[in-house]
């Protein structure tokens, strides 16, 4: 028999617990006796070993390998049990060695060593009996009395670093203590913290802590002091930290804590207390009350102000700029910010009237990272669009109130009484500010939009305060506890139904839901009144229950309320802007028209004037010429008479008379000629004037023409721009088309592969039990069904973008295209109870040559719209009709959906206007569908419009393609 067996037998004789009868325990003991397998017992000696050394020795002496991981079981399940039975003792060389010291070792007790040395010798039996008696008497001593719970130091780990995982929260717990001590400020100083081992000092000007408070409060775990005194002495502050975990939480931060505090005791004497804590001493396995804490109490001069300084030494982690800034931010927001005046009002109700709480500020002194986070100033909030507050009173009734600060359009206040009565929460208030990051909001303010946006991004959100203190998990960057960002991202169209009364018909405020980064505010509740709102022990979240749900509902209702009102403002502003623009445009057009009319009138006037002057000139010329001619004629007659008189040899006298007349006439004639010349001159001048006028009128006219031409040019440019944009869109779509072709190709391969797989698996299924086989066959069949749908989709895509569809024009049959479009959706339609009626003659073709893709696009868009309209209705019917009318072919799609008001019939054909709800089959519309439909119809001289639906239908879209003008002959001619 070897040592191992012999020792195991001894264990039985000693009645050691069965747990020790294993190899591990036997070998442990053997190496502690420094015995190899065959060493004689008398060679036994006391070997002092640590656990790692025990493992190594076992390997060396007995070639048995224990993994390093088994250290703990050796310690707990072997060594500790041996210790209990006085076989082994801990640290025999230095019993006072610090717990957890790396030098910790174990050795057999002297009694046991003596016993073992005598193994097999004559005195053995006697010694064995003695030893047995001894351990039995020690272990089974009969006694009675009282025992206490032993508090293992591990409790501090549970209370401290395990509970509080975030460094800022750990510091926050200390700062809360300052607040509770009626301090007006707390300064956090940090030194050498960019590396491990630095120092953090929390200094306040509070009332300090006297010896009794230190003993009964600070030194007592889970002290009731704070519970019994819910209000602070000086300012009646509602005290926090009901579990008083602050000092333990600091274990997370540093290894040592020094407390220095000056307070005034009941006799008015100033008392200074210092104490030192070495957290390392509180290691697992030690009893909390076994560890001495050094303190010193002394009286100081009366003029010493009260204060508390907590110094955390040997800081565990290093801090960087980011963690410092994060910590500052969180501590600054630890207590409800002063900015909210309501807060102060609320305080006044609970405070005694004589003492006014001057407030509490946290500041920082960190030379390594001098950049300071600061409070937001009042100015910041002046740039908000509105402030919204809400409150649930004692009885669970709630009110909301919105006050516009910086109007978007109107300055107003609106209150709303919440219809829901809150069952689980009461005395809850919230205030938050809503920012509209619009440049015009920031004129004349030191805050610009970008700065505000950045700050809101960092600090925005809705924070939660229980009593005065922050519950950290809410309203931080990335948190969306109210699900507003999520809803906004999903474009969820609805806001709370009870706010419907504030909505305009047709608006979709959900699309304007405020996101976390334009909100700044907090919700605050009184802890005592809301037992349901439990702060999880990590201080970061509330426990999710009915109370929490109500809290969420309430705050979200506030946001929805603001959203609805804001949305209304925006809509109104847009409408006003549109109206204003429309009016301006009209006024401009009117002015232009008037100006042009004026010019036209002027041109006419000038022309009239010119004509008149010309006529005048003409008249004048005519008159003088006539006069001159008359005189000339008379003169000629007289000259003839004179000639005749001379011929008949009339008397001189007679001739003389004539000559006199002639010379008179000659004179008159000369004057007449002069007059005529003068008149001609005048006339010429008049004509020149008329010419000028005419020229001027032509210039005006030219100008007018030019203006009109420019207008036309401008219009042309606008149209060209629209075309350019449409082309760009088409190009984008064309590329999509290509990828769809690839996709179609892939789908066909997938389809093929699926069929292949199904064959394989069916083959495999032949090998298994009939019952299971049936189940698998069914799922395979449904898989195959899906594969078929994929196949149909591939065909569908081929039809939509395949080469025949976009390259070949023809007068296509309508029915096959309609069928190809609805086929892929029949499965979904059936499942959702949508009834589809197709009423199209199988021979009906479009009357003009067009691309199949165009026809496809029209029908697809109309059907998908119809589906979007009906999919939430009770009766879901869609009808696709085509027939030949008087002027052309009509394609109509009717549905029993929600209908469309007549006033919007025109609107929805514009690009990006959509009236349909998003849905799972066709998705959310871009609002391009109907525009495309109309464009295609117009391109073929047709039209697309809503028409009055027949009875029992809600909407009817009618597409008209006029007949081809060159009518084909009759078939009888063939």
């Amino acid at each position: 028999m070897n040592n191992v067996e012999e020792l195991r037998q001894l264990f039985e004789k000693l009645n050691l617990p069965k747990d020790l009868h294993n190899d591990r325990s036997v070998l442990t003991l053997l190496v502690l006796l420094n015995l190899k397998k065959d060493s004689p017992w008398e060679k036994a000696e006391r070997n002092l070993l640590g656990i790692q050394e025990i493992i190594e020795k076992i390997k060396a002496f007995y070639n048995v390998d224990y993994a390093t991981g088994s250290r703990e079981s050796i310690r707990r399940e072997t060594i500790n049990l041996f210790i209990e039975h006085s076989i082994i003792e801990k640290n025999p060389d230095e019993p006072t060695r610090a717990p957890r010291s790396p030098k910790t070792n174990y050795g057999v007790t002297k009694d046991f060593l003596n016993l073992m040395k005598s193994f097999g010798k004559t005195e053995w039996d006697k010694k064995l009996v003695n030893f047995k008696d001894k351990i039995v008497s020690e272990f089974n001593q009969s006694e009675q009395g009282y025992v206490n719970f032993q508090t293992d130091s591990a409790i501090l780990i549970e209370l401290g670093e395990k509970l509080v995982t975030n460094s800022s929260i750990a510091l926050a717990e200390l700062v809360k203590n300052s607040y509770d001590a009626d301090a007006t400020k707390a300064i956090i100083r940090m030194r050498g913290i960019s590396k491990k081992g630095g120092t953090i000092i929390i200094e306040d000007d509070g009332t300090g802590m006297n010896y009794s408070a230190f003993i009964d409060g600070w030194m007592r775990i889970a002290s009731r002091i704070k519970k019994e005194e819910p209000y602070s002495i000086l300012y009646s502050r509602k005290t926090s930290g009901e579990k008083g975990i602050g000092r333990f939480a600091c274990r997370k931060l540093a290894r040592k804590l020094e407390l220095e505090t000056v307070s005034q005791n009941v006799h008015g004497v100033k008392e200074k207390l210092t104490a030192y804590f070495n957290w390392e001493a509180f290691e697992e396995g030690t009893s909390v009350d076994a560890i001495d804490i050094y303190y010193k109490k002394e009286v100081t001069s009366e003029d010493t102000p009260t204060y508390t300084i907590i110094t955390l030494k040997d800081v565990k982690d290093s801090w960087n700029e980011q963690s410092i800034s994060q910590m500052q931010k969180e501590l600054l927001e630890l207590i409800t910010p002063k900015t909210f005046e309501e807060e102060i009002k609320h305080n006044k109700e609970t405070e005694s009237e004589e003492v006014y709480d001057p407030g509490f500020e946290v500041s920082f002194d960190i030379p390594e990272y001098p950049k300071q986070e600061t409070f937001l100033t009042d100015d910041f909030f002046k740039n908000a669009w509105a402030k919204i507050s809400g409150c649930i009173n004692e009885t669970g009734d709630a009110n909301l109130k919105l006050e516009v600060i910086k109007p978007y359009l109107n300055k107003f206040e609106k209150s709303h009484k919440v219809s829901k009565k809150f069952e689980f929460i009461k005395n809850v208030d919230f205030i938050f500010y809503i920012f509209v990051l619009n440049p015009e909001f920031f004129i004349n303010s030191e805050w610009n939009r970008r700065k505000t946006g950045t700050l809101l991004k960092i600090k925005g959100g809705i924070k939660v305060y229980g009593d005065k203190f922050r519950i950290f998990g809410y309203g931080i960057e990335g948190d969306d506890w109210l699900k507003i960002d999520a809803d906004r991202a999903k474009s969820r169209s609805g806001v709370n139904k009870e706010l419907k009364i504030y909505r305009e018909k047709g608006d979709r405020p959900g699309l304007r839901l405020f996101t976390n980064n334009v909100l700044y505010g907090h919700v605050k509740f009184v802890l005592n009144d809301n037992m349901g709102l439990n702060i999880a022990s990590d201080r970061e979240r509330l426990i999710e229950n009915e109370s929490y749900d109500e809290l969420k509902y309430f705050v979200r209702l506030g946001i929805d309320f603001a959203t609805v009102l804001y949305s209304k403002e925006v809509d109104e502003k847009i409408q006003l802007k549109e109206e204003k623009e429309e009016a301006e445009r009209k006024a401009q057009e009117e002015a232009k028209r008037k100006a042009q009319e004026e010019t036209e009138r002027k041109v006419q006037d000038l022309l009239d004037q010119a004509t008149k002057i010309r006529n005048e000139a003409k008249d004048l010329g005519k008159k003088t010429t006539l006069k001159r001619r008359k005189i000339e004629d008379e003169r000629r007659m007289l000259e003839i008479a004179k000639q005749k008189l001379e011929e008949v040899k009339a008397s001189d006298n007679e001739i003389k008379q004539v000559v006199t007349s002639i010379s008179r006439l000659l004179k008159e004639e000369r004057i007449a000629i002069q007059e005529e010349e003068k008149a001609q001159e005048v006339a010429q001048k008049l004509i020149d004037d008329a010419d000028t006028l005419q020229k001027q009128s032509y210039e005006y006219k030219f100008q007018l023409e030019k203006e009109r031409k420019e207008d036309v040019e401008r219009e042309k440019e606008i149209i060209e721009e629209i075309f350019r944009r449409e082309y760009a869109l088409l190009r984008a779509l064309a590329s999509t088309g290509n990828s769809i072709l690839l996709f179609q190709h892939e789908m066909r391969i997938l389809n093929d592969t699926i069929r292949d797989l199904v064959i394989n698996y069916k083959q495999m299924l032949n090998m298994i039990q009939p019952l299971e086989k049936h189940i698998y066959l069914m799922s395979l069949d449904s898989y195959l069904q899906r594969a078929e749908i994929i196949g149909v989709f591939a065909e569908f895509l081929g039809l939509a973008v395949g080469s025949r569809s976009i390259h070949e024009v023809d007068e296509w049959l309508i029915l096959p295209i309609v069928k190809a479009i609805v086929n892929p959706f029949t499965y979904e339609f059936d499942r959702r109870g949508v009834e589809l009626i197709i009423s199209i003659d199988k021979r009906l073709r479009v009357p003009q040559k067009m691309y199949r893709a165009e026809l496809f696009s029209i029908i697809y868009n109309l059907v998908s719209n119809a589906y979007k309209f009906v999919h939430q209705e009770q009766i879901q019917k869609i009808m696709i009709k085509a027939f030949e009318g008087e002027h052309g072919l009509h394609i109509q799609v009717l549905d029993t959906g929600k209908g469309l008001e007549k006033s919007r019939w025109e609107d929805v054909f514009k690009a990006f206007v959509t009236d349909s709800d998003p849905n799972t089959i066709f998705g959310t519309g871009m609002g391009l569908g109907l525009k495309i439909v109309k464009d295609i119809a117009l391109a073929y001289n047709g039209n697309a419009q809503f028409v009055d639906p027949p009875e029992n239908w809600k909407t009817c879209v009618d597409i008209l393609f006029p007949y081809n003008s060159n009518k084909e002959g009759n078939m009888n001619e063939i």
Partner: protein, 370 residues
């Protein structure tokens, strides 16, 4: 009889899969051996070329490199087929691939002419098809042709089981004008039987052509009491299982034999045999004592119909159909025609395959009311 198949594919997964399938579904018919594509000519010479086989199944795309060496084959499916058709004349080659690969690669007609058939991987083992029987019949047909000692018209006619060799000889001669019937090559004659004789109606008729020829409906023609008369006319020669097609009649009847039988039936009742379309149904009614459905033009009420619409595979009158040129069938075969109905009710008619003069009628035909 069991046939050997050499199967070349670059994808290990497919090699394993189809080997498994062949062994699973038709172990008694085929012995399949799967090969990686030869990486070098030497590999081809030593591994593929010398194999004793009755069929080569070749994947079209052989571009995936061998796993160990990361080397690709020097062949692709078509070049390998070309090599094999030179080295192993008379052994059929099937391009065995996926439909989409063919669509994507879109090989030229000349390239495809090298191979004897294309078979889609996804379709061969689909339940409810006769594809495996057809494949067996296909390989068997080639084997019969290879084993033929004297490759002349006489041996060919006996392989075709022609009941009226004297009548059909000229037509067969004309339709096979591209090769010498008295000294034929296996691949030529196999291609002609499968792609001409069995594919185009003329010498052999499928059921709808037979029915239309007889002035009755296809259902009547295929009914049991009428089929009895035409047992002897049925084509039972090589490749009788026809071609790899989905859901299509593969049965064929000798036209000359049908006419012979019909004339006998009519003559038995003492009537003039022509026009068959009119007189045969009457005689048949008398003979079997029940009413018989007449064939009817699909585009009008004219009965009996004259021919069969190429697109809709329905009877149609000459009056209500147009000549159509979808393929290069020999002149002894029936002309292809499209019915007005096909023009009116489908977009499948390729207008470019219609005579130019007829094309002008299309708009009017389309506007006709039913």
């Amino acid at each position: 009889m069991k046939f050997n198949i050499i199967y070349v594919d670059d994808e290990e997964k497919d090699r394993d899969l189809f080997t498994l399938r062949f062994n699973e579904f038709c172990k008694d018919k085929f012995n399949i051996s799967a090969f990686k594509p030869p990486k070098t000519r030497e590999e081809y010479e030593s591994e593929i070329k010398p194999q004793e086989t009755d069929l080569f199944l070749i994947d079209l795309d052989l571009s995936i490199p061998e796993e160990e060496s990361r080397k690709r084959s020097i062949f692709d499916g078509l070049s390998l087929a070309m090599e094999l058709s030179n080295n192993r004349p008379g052994v059929p080659i099937i391009l065995f691939t996926r439909e989409e690969i063919i669509n994507r690669r879109n090989p030229s007609k000349q390239a495809l002419a090298i191979i004897d058939e294309t078979l889609y991987k996804g379709k061969l083992f689909v339940e409810g098809t006769k594809n495996l029987d057809v494949l067996y019949n296909f390989v068997q047909g080639f084997k019969l042709l290879r084993d033929c000692k004297e490759k002349n018209i006489k041996s060919l006619l006996s392989l075709l089981n022609d009941p009226n060799p004297d009548i059909n000889r000229d037509d067969l001669n004309i339709s096979s004008s591209l090769f010498n019937l008295d000294y034929w090559e296996v691949s030529d004659v196999a291609s002609w039987i499968r792609r001409v004789l069995l594919s185009y109606p003329g010498i052999l008729f499928d059921s709808i052509f037979c029915a239309t020829l007889l002035g009755i409906t296809k259902d009547e023609f295929l009914s049991k009491d009428i089929q009895i008369f035409f047992m002897d006319a049925k084509y039972t020669g090589i490749f009788a299982e026809g071609i790899f097609v989905d859901n299509e009649d593969t049965e064929r009847w000798w036209k000359s034999k049908i006419i012979e039988i019909v004339i006998d039936i009519i003559a038995e009742l003492g009537t003039s045999p022509t026009p068959i379309k009119k007189n045969f149904p009457n005689s048949l009614e008398q003979k079997i004592g029940r009413e018989i459905q007449r064939s009817k033009c699909n585009s009008s009420n004219i009965s009996p119909a004259d021919t069969v619409c190429f697109i809709k595979k329905e009877p149609v009158s000459y009056q209500n159909s147009l000549s159509y040129y979808p393929d290069s069938r020999p002149s002894v075969m029936e002309e292809a025609r499209v019915s007005y109905k096909a023009i009116q009710e489908t977009d499948r008619v390729n207008l470019n395959l219609i005579d130019e003069t007829d094309r002008e009628l299309i708009p009017k035909i389309r506007k006709m009311k039913e």
